[in-house]
Symmetry: C2
Subunit: 452 residues, 2 copies
């Protein structure tokens, strides 16, 4: 997915900034969407960002802050005063406020919690207790609820009272005397009902709901299955404690998919393109060192066949072709399987079927690619038996690539680990070892048999 | 993202099927969610699927059909009668009906279009004209609209009339006498207004809207930026022609991210885990043959240094370590950049900054990993100069890996191509060539200088 870069007035702003015309900048900023301002801030000098940030009205500043990348957020928190931070957090909904406060130092968090409105502070303190990747961590305390004896008119009155502080109201939640959820009522039902109708009579009495401890992936799945716009969150006893809205779920879906993508490539999920270099080095080098271990395993296979290589150097020339091709074929298999498991298109119960299929595909592609490779080698002037050797070893290696590419994520899944976890490292080790072993092993055999 | 497999009653169904107890199966199917039935169908024998599918009431059959994977959809279309297909399509909303009909043969499509209700048929014929990945292709014709002189009471009356056939009503669209969009009105605004208020007075007069030709990625981006639940679609003259709802957008977001994932691994975006093997072979082998071409380029670099390898076989043993490590480092860089460009965290204008950063990260990781590799080689008993050679060549290669890993997707993006397109093939070619060249080239130099 690519996002077209809209023309942001970065140069214009820099020009006005250098001319010291802050009021013109302010006017310009007010015409821009918070997302665009945030994207522009990422491009500007940090001192300049602080000055511009202070020009924004508090509600807009709050929206812009939420759209910034973590490093710039951290910088702003350190650059602005405690009072300014409190004012910005005060503008946020409780779920966003919780996310921001959970990233602060213990001391800063306390200052902000003491500074913001008491009602919001109490809610945020509750929300802070839930792990970030659960329904509790994703929910917000802002919602419209009515007692089960309420009428449609009273429900509308409740919406009226909350309409200013809550966006995206799509449901009214109905609770009993103890605050336990007994039903939900969508706005389109509400709008069609007579105002004296008790909500009890028209509410959905079996609403889809989650408890606070449910994983965010499961929450996303429920939203998709039932085409929901919002969902109530309850505690273990069934008391209504919050709601999750579809816009938060969209973020979860995006986040989770890219996590798979990152894990396949052995990356920390926190990495961002413009992280400071030292941070990236610290995050990536452990994986590369792990990969080094596996690379030496593959090298030790080559070492077994030193004599064969010494007597026929063309083996060293062509062995990376066999191993590399296996690596690519295996990554195709891994990608298809990781995606299938992630989207639920593939179940662990179909493991044997997909394994059989991928082994067949590997064999088929091995025969095709091996033939082409053998032919190319022959046309380039090598001994015809080198071509045969390439054909045989690529057929075997792509077959093994299909097997490994399927087995590794499926076994990880079966072990309840993430199927994407470092698949690329494990899988390429597998195809390197198999590729070197088959190509050099068969080569040594051919030499022994006098075929080469 | 992983989806836990719920216990589907596959065995129970198979048992009942073998006992011929269709009415018990029907009862069981009625208790299941369409998504679950669809997942179960993917597991069953195809003959069985047809029998079970026919047990479902038409509206549920329609929902189940939409959740099936393409191969099973195609099979069902061929297995059921034209009349059955018409009945199922008749139950769908226009956007889904359009998707289904667009996949049919010309003849089948005509039969279905002639068979379904005339009003739906006219709408679907219109929708079929729009490319699938545009706002026109994603929109549905079902919506609630009122004239600009309408009152709140009349708007509620319009909702009442449409409520049965339309789900997820979250907005009423307001049009002028010519059918041009002049505003939108959300249900929460509507519910709070007095019933005699003209909609004109409370509507949003600057709603976010798209024209039919806008790409689906841009549509998804607009939903996210503005936290929308639905969005009106207009033609070039501004006439209201349809609406897009958030649930369709969630599918687009998922689809687009996985497309990137697939493109990096050189896969056709249509591939699914349980495709027939021959289809997978046909789809994957062209990419593997392309990769073969680039692999021979890398092999030709090795060939340049045959003499060095013949005199010092350890070079052949260790060269895959240098190249492989470069490949992994480059894939880390590619993944971070493809993700950043996709999510808009990275703009093409920051290209130089990210290039500089990735080159630095590559250099840093090269020094770290090269040192470890050199040390391991030395501890394994190779000549100390082989360790030095490993250190130097890995430092250079990981530096180049950082550069290539960043340059290739950024250049693709700059050329307005997909930055993810086959990045893995191009990037590993780059690191293979660079790895072999630096390691073997320096090795040959060391030999010439008498250091090895």
């Amino acid at each position: 997915m690519t996002v077209e870069s809209k023309n942001l007035p970065v140069e214009k702003i820099t020009e006005l900034y250098e001319a010291g015309d802050l009021s013109a900048i302010k006017e310009l900023l007010l015409t821009l969407h918070p997302t665009d301002i945030a994207r522009m801030f990422e491009e500007l000098e940090r001192d300049q960002v602080v000055s511009l940030f202070r020009l924004l009205p508090k509600d807009k500043a709050s929206d812009v802050f939420l759209e910034l990348e973590d490093p710039l957020k951290e910088f702003l928190v350190s650059a602005i005063s405690d009072r300014e931070l409190v004012e910005i957090v005060d503008e946020m909904e409780t779920d966003d406020a919780t996310d921001v406060i959970s990233e602060l130092s213990h001391e800063d968090a306390r200052k902000v919690l003491d500074g913001i409105k008491e009602k919001e502070s109490i809610e945020v303190r509750k929300l802070l207790k839930y792990p970030e990747d659960t329904a509790g961590g994703k929910m917000q305390a802002e919602l419209v609820s009515v007692g089960e004896s309420a009428t449609v008119k009273e429900a509308v009155q409740s919406i009226r009272e909350k309409a200013k502080e809550i966006t995206n109201i799509s449901n009214v939640f109905v609770v009993d005397d103890e605050g336990k959820l007994v039903g939900t009522l969508s706005l389109d039902k509400l709008i069609l009902a007579d105002e004296d109708t008790p909500v009890r009579e028209i509410m959905n009495t079996k609403p889809v709901k989650v408890t606070t401890d449910v994983d965010q992936e499961e929450v996303a799945r429920m939203f998709r299955r039932h085409d929901l716009l919002s969902m109530p969150v309850v505690d273990k006893e069934g008391h209504l404690v919050g709601r999750i809205t579809i816009d938060d779920v969209v973020d979860v879906i995006e986040e989770e998919i890219f996590e798979d993508f990152y894990r396949v490539a052995s990356l920390s999920v926190e990495e961002r393109p413009l992280d400071p270099p030292l941070r990236s080095i610290a995050r990536r080098s452990p994986w590369l060192i792990l990969n080094l271990g596996t690379a030496f395993v593959a090298a030790s296979v080559v070492k077994l066949f030193e004599d064969a290589i010494a007597s026929l150097v063309i083996l060293a020339v062509l062995m990376p072709v066999v191993a590399g091709e296996g690596g690519n074929a295996a990554m195709q298999t891994v990608t298809v399987i990781v995606r299938g498991l992630a989207l639920g298109e593939l179940e662990i119960r179909s493991a044997w079927r997909v394994l059989y299929k991928e082994a067949l595909v590997g064999l088929g592609n091995g025969i095709i690619v091996g033939s082409v490779a053998g032919l190319i080698a022959y046309l380039l002037g090598t001994n015809v038996m080198v071509g045969v050797l390439l054909f045989l070893s690529m057929t075997v290696n792509l077959f093994i690539a299909g097997l490994c590419g399927a087995v590794i994520p499926l076994v990880l899944k079966w072990l309840k680990a993430d199927p994407a976890l470092s698949s690329s490292i494990f899988v390429t080790t597998c195809t390197d070892v198999a590729g070197f072993f088959t190509f050099l092993g068969l080569g040594a055999l051919f030499i022994k048999l006098g075929l080469l």
